[in-house]
Symmetry: C2
Subunit: 199 residues, 2 copies
Amino acid sequence: MYRKPKHIGIIPDGNRRWAVLNGLNKDGGYEYGLSAGLKLLREAKKAGVEELTYYGFTTDNCKRPKEQVQAFSKACSKAVKLIKNEGVNVYVLGNTRSVCFPKDLLPYTEKKPGDGMKVNILVNYGWEWDMKNGWISRDIPRIDMVVRWGGMCRLSGFLPVQTVYSDFYIIKDLWPDFSEKQFTDALDWYQKQDVTLGG
Amino acid sequence: MYRKPKHIGIIPDGNRRWAVLNGLNKDGGYEYGLSAGLKLLREAKKAGVEELTYYGFTTDNCKRPKEQVQAFSKACSKAVKLIKNEGVNVYVLGNTRSVCFPKDLLPYTEKKPGDGMKVNILVNYGWEWDMKNGWISRDIPRIDMVVRWGGMCRLSGFLPVQTVYSDFYIIKDLWPDFSEKQFTDALDWYQKQDVTLGG
């Protein structure tokens, strides 16, 4: 029987390393991650994944140099609009009461019921902010698999409550070097994991 | 410069698989994990690790067949006493108000200040129980690295708040097949991780 993850978390790490490796400034990588995000979304839709949650940027990330903050903030805004065009239910979660939150994303901050695929993007999200607000992220369900690009094997504060039972799949390549095969390999790998939900 | 994890989390998974592979009943593996736990502790002490937290068993695990529950419960009791003899500060954390909690471990359920290495053992721990009690585990500090045996790349509910920034190191071998080299390899690997604490 084919075991499919219903809900996948995506940690698109490695944009800055990719930029430097490709002769750009550190902030030059995010733009290149946009098409990666779209390709992944289409592949997930094709595979019948019901929900995707992208780790956009965090409250911690906002302490970085201004050019970087502007770059990833702008990339997130663009990403949300690109995703919106794919005919999915878009939901943006993060601390809206901060200058770091892109104002043009405010219309997406309510999770609406609806048929079809759900795509959540964490924008100016912080696990401590989430916790202090009584786990405000609780309208996002449990995550079956987390796929992380960029080689690190860690959550970096990504939805601690939803990921308690998640399987983590790590891809060494940097996010802008995304390929569909990386994602389908992750789906194949997931089938072989024995899910017990802590039992 | 040698980067050393101050606090390591240990997920000693694979006892049941090991038992079956070695011609025993599923509940026959836990006893063999005891010496593994001691060897690891001595190795960590030698390396100057300040704090270790072992994932003993969980409230979820207690839903398993009775022989298994009795077997891992007994093994945990033994483990705590063996560890106590190593001259470290032992602390047991878990839901004591349940028949699943071994009564002989009640004297260890208070975290005392003290010099020297700290060793925490989660006994009848549950992340939901932890959360419902306002994160009762908050006297356990942030975990730098989680080392898991048995090949699965997941947390299985292990201290969600302490592990938000942890690096996860996965060992394919099953826990009763522990060797010192696996642990020193984990320490070597940790040195190469770029710790950003979400920044």
